[in-house]
């Protein structure tokens, strides 16, 4: 039961270009979506989130877009830097439903090439 799907296991982008990571979900009850970044041997680190009532949230080089009708969100990183190389997880939660555990996608390994 994959309520949150990240269909690209890996993505390679040249330094300085835009990285676009995609995520789809099936549960319309999710009210927050979050992106986490993970380096090997470390725990996930929060990057950016978006409420289901918004369609865009921006924080520095990171922008998350939400398309509720398509049940799709994306994370844009621009410009991409070598330190951005990591696994990126899309996650969702249903706080109104009292379910505060995060549902994660399988992750996308982003590789920034010099």
């Amino acid at each position: 039961d994959q309520q949150v799907k990240q269909n690209s296991p890996s993505l390679s982008v040249q330094e300085g270009r835009i990285s676009i990571l995609n995520c789809d979900y099936t549960n319309s009850m999710f009210d927050y979506f979050l992106w986490y970044k993970k380096y090997p041997a470390e725990g996930p680190t929060f990057l950016i989130s978006i409420s289901s009532i918004k369609d865009k949230n921006e924080d520095g080089r990171f922008t998350v877009f939400l398309n509720k009708s398509a049940k799709h969100l994306s994370l844009h990183i621009v410009p991409s830097q070598p330190g951005d190389s990591a696994v990126y997880f899309c996650a969702a939660e249903n706080l109104r439903g009292g379910a505060d555990g995060l549902t994660f996608g399988k992750g996308t390994h982003l590789i920034i090439q010099p």
Binding site: D31, Y32, L34, G43, P44, I50, D100, G101, L102, K106
Partner: protein
């Protein structure tokens, strides 16, 4: 900067043995979580804990699992009788409250290997 800490970083145990994984959440946080990630798979929610009781648990969190906050700082996950399939990274997380979007802060994880 405050952070979630976990001990040990790696635990090796024999099948059928009990293990206790320890976490120290960020001090002013009220909600605590355990997740696991089996090698090559996604991070999966196990349980959330608030006000000294479980607030939500997943199907994975069966009778073999229990959580406890034995004092004001530690948060533990106990697996009563480990199975081979319990081998995974276990992550503890905490958050200050539920008024969103308060992100969950994750610890570095404990790698559990069941032989």
């Amino acid at each position: 900067e405050p952070e979630v800490t976990q001990t040990p970083s790696h635990q090796v145990t024999q099948m059928g043995q009990e293990v206790i994984l320890r976490c120290v959440p960020i001090s002013n946080h009220l909600y605590f979580y355990w997740y696991r990630q089996i090698l090559g798979q996604k991070v999966e929610f196990l349980v959330s804990f608030y006000n000294n009781e479980i607030s939500e648990k997943s199907e994975i969190f069966d009778d073999q699992f229990s959580v406890e906050r034995p004092d004001g700082s530690n948060f533990t996950l106990k697996i009563r009788s480990t199975k081979l399939e319990d081998s995974a990274m276990y992550f503890c997380a905490s958050r200050p409250g539920l008024a969103g979007p308060n992100e969950q802060f994750f610890g570095p994880g404990t790698r559990l290997t069941v032989l």
